[in-house]
């Protein structure tokens, strides 16, 4: 096929460009696989890069699940601290670091919900696991997708969110962005391929 590898390469480049523009300006890390491996080795700079990459995702998930800024801040802090302390348990071979971290966040969110609830059912480990699965339902996917679309980097992210989140027609997008229709369609197709590739990583991890 060959198409998969090519598209994955494109999406990584787009991500790095986005990071280069906005946040990790001085990051010495050439790509995310390198960051993941560096994190597993205990490189603090990798923790910082990881935080930049997924803290908004973790915080948004927590805030939507818990409905409280303060609780979401606690969960976010606990998630990254737990990830660092438990980094020996992360295996880069099994999937990307961000997916592993979101797994930790889900458990922290479930813990926070359980602590609030006086419901004895959540006391047992099995019930807690069920709770975790619940947190990771449809709502979770919506936030993950928003994160992944944003991670595509512009113009792909802009075109994809206009098409799918805002429901604009391709012709409408072409007109608004002053972009040839063929380019719009190409961005959408390539965006979908990149999203599909990245989405598989979430499935593996959860």
């Amino acid at each position: 096929m060959g198409g998969v590898d090519g598209a994955a390469g494109v999406s990584n480049v787009a991500l790095l460009e986005r990071k280069g523009e906005s946040m990790v300006v001085n990051s010495p890390h050439p790509d995310f696989a390198t960051i993941d491996a560096a994190f597993a080795r205990g490189d603090e700079a990798a923790l910082e890069a990881l935080y930049c990459d997924v803290s908004s995702l973790v915080f948004t998930l927590a805030k939507r699940a818990l409905g409280s800024d303060m609780d979401a801040e606690d969960v976010t802090q606990q998630t990254f601290v737990s990830a660092w302390k438990g980094r020996d348990g992360y295996d880069p071979q099994r999937g990307p670091l961000r997916a592993w971290v979101v797994g930790i966040a889900k458990r922290r969110i479930a813990d926070a919900l359980a602590a609030r609830s006086r419901d004895v059912r959540v006391a047992s480990e099995a019930a807690r696991e069920a709770f975790v699965a619940e947190v990771g339902g449809r709502e979770m996917d919506r936030v993950l997708l928003a994160y992944e679309v944003e991670s595509l980097g512009d113009p792909q992210a802009q075109v994809v969110s206009m098409a799918f989140f805002d429901g604009h027609t391709h012709e409408d997008i072409a007109q608004r962005l002053d972009m040839p229709l063929g380019t719009v369609k190409s961005h959408i197709r390539r965006g979908l391929v990149a999203l599909r590739n990245r989405w598989e990583a979430w499935d593996v991890a959860s």
């Binding site: 096929m1 803290s55 390539r190």
Partner: protein, 243 residues
């Protein structure tokens, strides 16, 4: 016919026209059908009609909290730095966030070395400072964020036997927070709050019977005015009393 390209399958998922050979291949090839279904599911997920999700970044203090906990954790797991007691490692939260330099844990650990070293060498026990009071222990203070010198603290015993911790440091007000003075043990486990600093000079009576020599770390922290009496972990200044 070879398998259909991802790009083509993605196009089908958003309604692009299928040519005849592609349609025929899809009808025969389970692998391509499965991939086509992946794209269809993805499009369904993207267009589920729910309210649009906007990602929100956590406030900056969350990162400071993460860093502070990590620094403490690393110091503990290394059993202290260079054999020095595990002090001055609770946090240096005021250190500028997002410096993007590698090695901030090592940097904070170095601060511990500086504070520990100075505390060990400048030992001013027994120096008489003024009539009616005797200095029995003293500590240079260091700003944990900059590692710069930040004044001095000493314990003096007054004529009536009262023991007083005297702190001279640069005081600046912090919004919605107070500056609290602590004495902490070398394990950074036990601690006692002596009160709040409200100017460059503060004098705090050490409760009688309290063995301050077991709590030689003078620690000044920022405490949010939230009613929580525990140490915030946000230490700004430290020194170790030479006893």
């Amino acid at each position: 016919m070879s398998h259909l390209d991802d790009d083509v399958l993605a196009g089908f998922a958003v309604g692009e026209a299928r040519d005849r050979s592609s349609s025929e291949h899809l009808a025969q090839c389970a692998d391509c059908r499965a991939r086509a279904e992946d794209f269809a599911r993805l499009v369904t997920g993207l267009t589920d009609g729910g309210e649009r999700v906007t990602l929100e970044s956590p406030p900056e203090h969350v990162w400071r909290g993460v860093r502070s906990e990590v620094i403490t954790f690393e110091a503990d797991s290394r059993g202290g730095v260079d054999g020095l007691p595990r002090v001055a490692l609770l946090s240096s939260k005021r250190r500028k966030v997002r410096t993007w330099s590698a090695g901030w844990v090592a940097g904070a650990a170095a601060t511990a070395g500086v504070v520990g070293g100075i505390g060990g060498t400048l030992w001013l026990s027994g120096i008489t400072s003024a009539p009616g009071e005797t200095t029995v222990a003293s500590a240079p203070l260091a700003d944990l964020a900059t590692e710069a010198s930040a004044g001095q603290a000493h314990v003096e015993v007054r004529d009536d036997g009262t023991r007083v911790l005297v702190v001279d440091t640069d005081y600046s007000q912090v919004a919605d927070a107070s500056i609290e003075v602590w004495m902490i043990d070398t394990e950074v486990e036990g601690m006692i709050s002596l009160g709040y600093l409200s100017s460059d000079h503060g004098e705090f009576v050490i409760p009688s019977g309290f063995d301050y020599s077991a709590y030689p770390i003078v620690d000044i922290s920022i405490e949010p005015n939230d009613g929580n009496p525990a140490h915030s972990g946000e230490s700004i200044t430290r020194g170790i009393l030479g006893l």
